[in-house]
């Protein structure tokens, strides 16, 4: 029982990290960034390359080196996120929503198959796999790397919360989410803030990618697809566009999946999660923490 809860919390913290980026981008420019899951995948591949170089320099990889790698790939995926926004999404900001959505699918496809062309279609073994002696807490097996990864996730989320809620830049983001035109009139540099949002969201996805790669040990070019869908589900469960909602949704989805797996068996895990997505959209489309949004004409 406690094991299930722990597993759910652990997986949920990954979902929450990815869902945050999804939710932030959606909250600000109302675009579903389908490529978000692929940024998660990119993060793990960048870490794969960087780690390959670093372990050559410093010998065997350890947790401090992994944290350095985490930082590097966060910066790089963030940069790629900004680039994507600049090249693919900004030209379409005023066009119909369908066009932007299709572009997002195209971007996702491009990233996936570019990575496949570079690294090949077969899964890669991540050079570092975190293993540790399991501790026994209340009958659950908990390993040290799990605790470290959850701590990292918690620190990232806390930093994000401080940034969005208590800084000048965060205020600009929230202003744009409320009303883009009015914030432009008030002297907010809208383009720069949107770029920054993409940077942060993508960097968080990249971080989740690195952590998942280090924990599960294998990476492949399609690993971002399902996690992107799950992150969206998490964002919807929590209430899309809502920062706390994304975190809560991630944890809730992780717990649901963990229990669903033990009830129905692992092969039905994804069906269970997406079934929940549909149920939530039917009965509470605004999510747990979302407010009813009136669409303006």
């Amino acid at each position: 029982m406690f094991q299930l809860i722990w597993n759910g919390l652990f997986v949920g913290s990954f979902y929450a990290l990815v869902a945050l980026g999804y939710s932030m981008v959606y909250g600000i420019i109302k675009l579903l960034n389908f490529a978000h899951g692929d940024l998660y995948m990119l993060g793990s591949f960048i870490a794969f390359v960087v780690l390959g170089g670093l372990t050559g320099l410093f010998g065997i990889g350890s947790i401090p080196i992994l944290l350095l790698v985490l930082l590097i790939s966060m910066l790089l995926t963030g940069g790629i996120g900004v680039l994507i926004e600049r090249v693919a999404y900004r030209p379409l900001r005023t066009s119909p929503r369908l066009a932007a959505l299709i572009t997002a699918v195209g971007v996702s496809f491009t990233i996936e198959y570019a990575v496949r062309q570079i690294f090949g279609a077969s899964p890669k073994v991540f050079p570092v796999q975190l293993e540790g002696a399991p501790l026994d807490v209340l009958g659950a097996r908990i390993t040290l790397p799990q605790i470290v990864l959850m701590l990292v996730a918690a620190v990232l989320m806390f930093a994000l919360q401080r940034y969005v809620m208590h800084s000048r830049e965060g205020r600009a983001m929230r202003a744009i989410a409320l009303d883009q035109k009015a914030s432009l009139l008030m002297g907010v540099n809208v383009n720069r803030v949107i770029s920054r949002t993409f940077f942060i969201g993508s960097a968080l996805a990249g971080a989740a990618g690195v952590m998942a790669a280090a924990y599960y040990g294998t990476i492949d070019f399609l690993m971002g697809f399902v996690i992107g869908l799950k992150a969206f589900t998490a964002a919807v469960i929590g209430g899309i566009g809502n920062l706390y909602g994304a975190m809560l949704g991630g944890i809730v989805l992780g717990l649901l999946e963990s229990f669903g797996t033990s009830w129905f068996g692992g092969q039905w895990r994804d069906v269970f999660a997406f079934g929940f997505l549909i149920l939530f959209l039917v009965f509470r489309p605004t999510g747990l923490l979302g407010e009813r949004v009136v669409e303006r004409v």
Binding site: R97, L101, I102, T103, D270
Partner: protein, 373 residues
């Protein structure tokens, strides 16, 4: 004595409606002629060259056209993004596959069940999500596609990961395509018979029906909801019902294409219904031109024949498709053949310039003494 009420008069039209273009170069007539020629060409082709390879890829390409025309209703006409369209194909293919192999029905008898299954699936997915913003639909359909694939992968009745084998080809009242046919000394093999079947029933039905649907009352309602849902609701169109209709019709077409595919390949497995294939059909519609029949046909032919034509290039084609999708959306959002395009050498209806007049005449203005307004 009865008082005469001044009769209200509609204002005179500012412009006379120009006469319709006539002759062979009138756009509508010309396109119909081209379509008929292509159709005859496709019908004559097996008499010229009938290698099994060619017939097979052409049959697949035509099934792709049926699929793309179905998605065109959803994406092109109604403006809803469906990212799990291949799931309906899976529903159709599995329904007819299971019914033929395990219940001994013929392909023709499975059609009502396929339609029913697709309508149910369409209502389950479309019903709740079409009330919400359109982007929710995109992601829910993505999830639906995965649900169908995983379910097919895990169930016993669908044959699990290895799928269903030995699906019979079409048969009518005891006579099957597999028996072959001999007319006037020419032997038609089962593959060629199936090719003709797809050509006449599949293409004929899909292309004609979808483009006519698009021009009819429902089609105009779809387009108006796509362009502005609020305004069309103000005009008395039920946006939700209209979108649901588009979604269900798209689902039926997808299921029909799935049935055709099951008959064509005689084996289906969950791997044929991955997200990749949904994206490929979407690309066919988007690259060709959303809502444009010739465009969608071109797009479907391009997407389905590209791996055959560009053999050395096939590794790169998904990357190329992804880039093309972004480039199309940024620089030519209406696709290679936009819905309103008219070939440059065709006659266009001349629309005279509106003369810069004063305001439009007001209804009911009384005439003055000279009989002028």
């Amino acid at each position: 004595m009865a008082k005469t009420i001044p009769r209200l008069q509609a204002p005179a039209p500012i412009l006379e409606r120009p006469p319709a273009v006539s002759g062979l170069l009138a756009p509508a007539r010309f396109m119909k002629l081209v379509a008929a020629l292509l159709f005859v060409g496709a019908a004559v082709l097996p008499f010229i060259t009938a290698t099994p390879y060619l017939i097979s890829i052409l049959t697949s390409a035509m099934i792709y056209i049926v699929l793309a025309m179905g998605l065109n209703v959803v994406v092109g006409y109604a403006g809803l993004l469906d990212l799990g369209y291949i799931a309906f194909m899976a529903v159709g293919a599995y329904t007819s596959g299971i019914l033929t192999t395990q219940f001994g029905l013929s392909m023709l008898e499975t059609i009502p069940f396929v339609v029913l299954a697709c309508v149910v699936a369409g209502v389950i997915i479309g019903g709740p999500t079409l009330r919400l913003r359109s982007d929710y639909l995109a992601i829910v359909t993505l999830g639906f596609g995965e649900i169908i694939r995983i379910t097919a992968n895990n169930l016993q009745v669908t044959g699990g990961p290895s799928g269903i084998h030995g699906i019979p080809t079409w048969s009518f009242f005891g006579w099957s395509f597999a028996d072959g046919l001999e007319i006037g000394g020419i032997q038609f093999t089962s593959k060629i018979l199936f090719y003709y079947f797809v050509l006449f029933v599949g293409i004929g039905l899909a292309v004609v029906a979808v483009s006519r649907l698009g021009k009819g009352k429902l089609g105009r309602a779809w387009k108006s909801v796509r362009d502005d849902e609020d305004v069309s609701e103000a005009m008395g169109i039920n946006g939700y019902k209209t979108k649901l209709m588009a979604y269900i019709i798209g689902a039926i077409w997808g299921g029909f294409a799935g049935t055709l595919m099951a008959g064509h390949l005689s084996a289906i497995s969950p791997n044929s219904f991955e997200f990749l294939y949904s994206a490929l059909v979407l690309m066919a519609v988007v690259l060709g031109g959303m809502g444009s029949t010739p465009g969608v046909i071109l797009g479907a032919l391009f997407v389905s024949l590209a791996p055959e034509l560009l053999r050395d290039f096939s590794e790169w084609r998904f990357l190329l498709f992804g880039v093309l999708l972004v480039v199309t959306m940024v620089f030519r959002p209406k696709g290679i053949w936009p819905a309103t395009a008219v070939l440059p050498f065709l006659k266009k209806r001349e629309i005279p310039q509106v003369p810069p007049t004063e305001a439009v005449g007001v209804v009911g203005v009384e005439e003055d003494e000279e009989g002028k307004r």
